[in-house]
């Protein structure tokens, strides 16, 4: 009925797109929580623990979604892409196994202590558990990006009877595109979390939360973003140059460059047309692409036509790239503008808060767009030069794949909606909560630090008496 290749690709894309949303948050959020916890251990100031407590709930929810959506992946490799493991199993196998052994168990086990163990273990053990969870999520990212980078730029192997055998594990792990992709992804995760934290904190402040915790998390997030966003542009540029060296056809698609030329223009926008092999309505800056890619206004850049039958579809790569870069630059602008206000005026104006709220999940869009660039850009290969996607696909009846696809997508839409709504609900709940019993024994909050909190508490007391002082929540 339907083409099994297209269906399997769409289904895998849907599953992995849904999955990547959650690790993108947990990787960096784990380290942010570790930072909050260390600040608390050093200062014993309860505001850090309040920040921790709010964001650890977001972490728990996000982590759960990441775990359950990830289990699906371990099944799909074999069911939908049997040719993948048959051809490169000798390399993908150990990498996946190491991910499970060194990362999954560590994070899943330590998570229990991180979430519920604060009162049961000494504080340093709790801090250690937080560190190990953050470390585990990063290790998991490490192994999976090793595998993905190897699929993009394979190295350290030999082909015997069409099956890949490892010859040099160091070359496999540190394959040419790995350092760039790993850095780029870690920073993407950090920026996603910066804007998530800034967005939800701005939402709390916008709704009248005068407590110190949201202001402190807002500052942390905005200042980090102001620093990281320009660095990400720099890392992204290095990553692009690396791609130019190893996968020039991908860069040609990203730039929308059909003909090989010297002094190639930068296409700001246009509509790539694969029939005529031109861009319609293109807005271009002359010679700019040559300058960016070769650092010479008249440098030669290879066009898509050089790679007949071996290049990716141009339009999706071209558009996704523009979405990613566009969001990247908008992040720099917003982060710098808000930083300026925070430094000068110590607070953000209402329009700034609104913009941050609107940008709460913008990191997701940029991350997905970036992955679409690199993954669609690898087509028609599953493993560059080694295995074509079409040769790895399953023989399952396409009706079954279609049926499960509809199930998954329905479920994902529901879960994503509930997830986003729940995050804002958690923020609204946090506004109402008084947190005085959170002061650790022997520590008195000084008036200057909590004056505004006292005032709010006094006025809100009559209405919020019924709300329990500690927001006890199981799971």
């Amino acid at each position: 009925m339907f083409d099994i290749l297209i269906l399997s690709r769409i289904q895998f894309a849907a599953n992995i797109s849904f999955h990547i949303l959650f690790p993108t948050i947990t990787i960096a959020l784990g380290w942010l929580l570790f930072y909050f916890k260390v600040r608390y251990d050093l200062s014993k100031h309860p505001v850090w623990m309040r920040a921790y407590r709010f964001w650890v709930k977001v972490f728990a929810l996000t982590f759960a979604l990441g775990v359950v959506s990830g289990i699906t992946m371990s099944f799909q490799f074999g069911t939908n892409w049997p040719g993948f493991m048959e051809t490169i199993g000798n390399i993908a196998g150990p990498l996946l196994a190491y991910e499970i052994l060194t990362a999954f168990f560590l994070e899943a086990t330590m998570l229990g202590i991180m979430l519920f163990g604060f009162r049961r273990v000494p504080s340093w053990v709790h801090t250690g558990a937080t560190f190990l969870v953050a470390f585990g999520t990063t290790m998991s990212a490490f192994w999976i990006i090793v595998l993905n980078s190897w699929m993009q730029t394979p190295a350290g192997f030999e082909l015997i009877d069409g099956v890949v055998h490892a010859t040099d594990w160091f070359a496999i792990i540190f394959n040419p595109s790995f350092p760039y992709r790993f850095t780029h992804m870690l920073m993407a995760s950090s920026l996603t979390v910066c804007f998530l934290v800034a967005g939800l904190s701005a939402y709390r402040i916008y709704r009248g939360d005068n407590k110190k915790a949201p202001r402190i998390t807002l500052r942390t997030a905005i200042f980090s973003a102001a620093l990281l966003a320009p660095m990400q542009v720099f890392v992204g540029d290095l990553h692009g140059l690396n791609t130019l060296e190893h996968q020039p056809q991908k860069v040609a698609a990203m730039e929308g460059l059909w003909e090989t030329q010297k002094g190639a223009p930068l296409v700001l926008f246009g509509i790539p047309d694969k029939e005529t092999k031109t861009n319609k309505f293109a807005i271009e800056i002359p010679k700019m692409t040559s300058f960016i890619l070769t650092h010479d206004f008249n440098g030669e850049v290879k066009g898509i036509n050089e790679f007949e039958g071996k290049h990716p579809p141009v339009a999706p790569v071209f558009y996704s790239f523009r979405v990613m870069v566009g969001i990247g630059f908008s992040m720099i602008l917003v982060a710098w503008w808000c930083s300026y206000s925070l430094i000068r005026k110590k607070a953000l104006a209402k329009p700034q808060l609104c913009i941050l709220i609107a940008m709460t999940f913008i990191g997701w869009v940029a991350t997905l767009a970036g992955w679409y660039v690199t993954e669609i850009g690898r087509q028609p290969y599953l493993v560059s030069g080694v295995l074509k996607t079409a040769d790895a696909v399953t023989t399952i009846a396409s009706d079954n794949v279609l049926f499960t696809f509809i199930l998954y997508v329905t479920l994902y839409i529901v879960l994503l909606t509930v997830y986003v709504k729940t995050l804002f609900l958690l923020a609204r709940k946090a506004i109402e909560v008084e947190e005085y019993d959170l002061v650790p024994p022997g520590i008195i909050e000084t008036k200057s630090e909590t004056a505004s909190e006292h005032k709010v508490a006094a006025t809100a007391n009559s209405t919020t008496r019924s709300i329990p002082l500690t927001q006890t929540k199981e799971a």
Partner: protein
């Protein structure tokens, strides 16, 4: 040691590793799925206690499934593909069940109070679907991964057996982790689930050798038959002993409250050994042996070195986690 790393030894070592992972998964996620299946919808307070008893553990428990499927994928890719392609639809439904219960676990505590009950139902239904589908897949596996009226009937029956078995281990977990009224309730559940599980295991043990000639041969071949006979004997001895223990619980000072759980663990081990011996050396029943399906030895060696190094650590911090949350379940606090 040399044998472990040799081309003949590696498939066996990985077969054993996968088996241990599946067994640990069945025991560990078994109890938390069982708690989900038994979730008392008539008592909100007991629901909170039940869920907090598994709160710190369920994530790690599910990881054993990822390890089992992951090791199958990397060590026996041909078997992974053959088995899971045959089980594509039930596996997908199981995954949906797992996703639903996993997220329900977190959403129930964070959404509006009025919506909590919706996620409690989701948790219960998701747990039920997951357990049933696992049993269904096991049934199909025993029937040689073929779809016909008999195999589907048997698989459906096997699905209910696994639901009963998980309820059994879940209820004994609750006996260990709860007090007073809830504990008494769990004892009642354990008795009922125990009877159903015993009947289920008995039926499967009789049908399996009848439909699989090779299985019958393995279990009746002397002198091994004497040794193998110990497995079902021990299993049913545990059922009888367990029923006697349950009839006397609860005792003063909560003595013996954890006994039933460990007895059920022994039952699980027996069932698992029974099934493993029935199918060895096949990984896809009647079609593909461990040796035929294995990946290249050099890759398996690398995974084995890593596993031997890492598994003690996994054991270590699992112990730390269970030690930290020992004793009766209390209301979980994020902080």
């Amino acid at each position: 040691m040399d044998f472990m790393f040799s081309a003949q030894g590696l498939p066996i070592v990985f077969g054993v590793l996968i088996s241990i992972s599946i067994l640990l998964y069945a025991i560990l996620d078994g109890y938390d799925l069982g708690v989900g299946i038994l979730l008392p919808m008539d008592n909100a307070e007991q629901r909170d206690v039940a869920i907090s008893s598994i709160g710190p553990f369920w994530d790690a428990n599910e990881t054993w499934l990822v390890l089992a499927v992951g090791l199958l994928l990397v060590a026996f890719p041909a078997a992974h593909s053959a088995i899971l392609k045959a089980l594509y639809l039930p596996a997908t439904l199981m995954l949906i069940g797992l996703i639903l219960r996993g997220v329900a676990f977190d959403f129930r505590a964070k959404v509006k109070q009025t919506r909590k009950i919706v996620w409690d139902y989701t948790f219960k239904i998701g747990s039920y679907v997951t357990a049933f589908m696992q049993g269904f897949m096991l049934g199909l596996y025993v029937m040689g991964l073929e779809y016909n009226v008999y195999s589907i009937l048997f698989a459906t029956f096997s699905g209910f057996c696994v639901v009963a078995a998980y309820s059994l281990i879940g209820s004994t977990w609750l006996i260990m982790k709860t007090t007073e009224d809830f504990q008494k309730r769990a004892i009642g559940w354990a008795k009922r689930a125990g009877v159903l599980s015993a009947l289920g295991i008995l039926t499967v043990s009789l049908i399996n050798p009848l439909v699989n000639q090779s299985v019958l041969k393995i279990w009746t071949q002397l002198p091994w038959a004497y040794l193998y006979a110990a497995i079902p004997l021990l299993c049913f001895f545990m059922f009888i002993l367990g029923y006697l223990v349950l009839s006397r619980l609860p005792l003063a000072d909560d003595h013996g409250a954890s006994l039933p759980f460990y007895m059920v663990v022994i039952v699980f081990v027996c069932c698992f050994l029974g099934l493993s011996f029935s199918f060895y050396p096949y990984v896809v029943p009647g079609e593909l042996t461990l040796f035929e399906a294995a990946s290249a030895p050099e890759s398996l060696r690398i995974i084995l070195v890593g596993s031997l190094f890492v598994l003690p650590f996994i054991g270590g911090y699992t112990v730390i986690s269970y030690y930290t949350f020992r004793g009766k379940a209390e209301k979980l606090r994020y902080y």
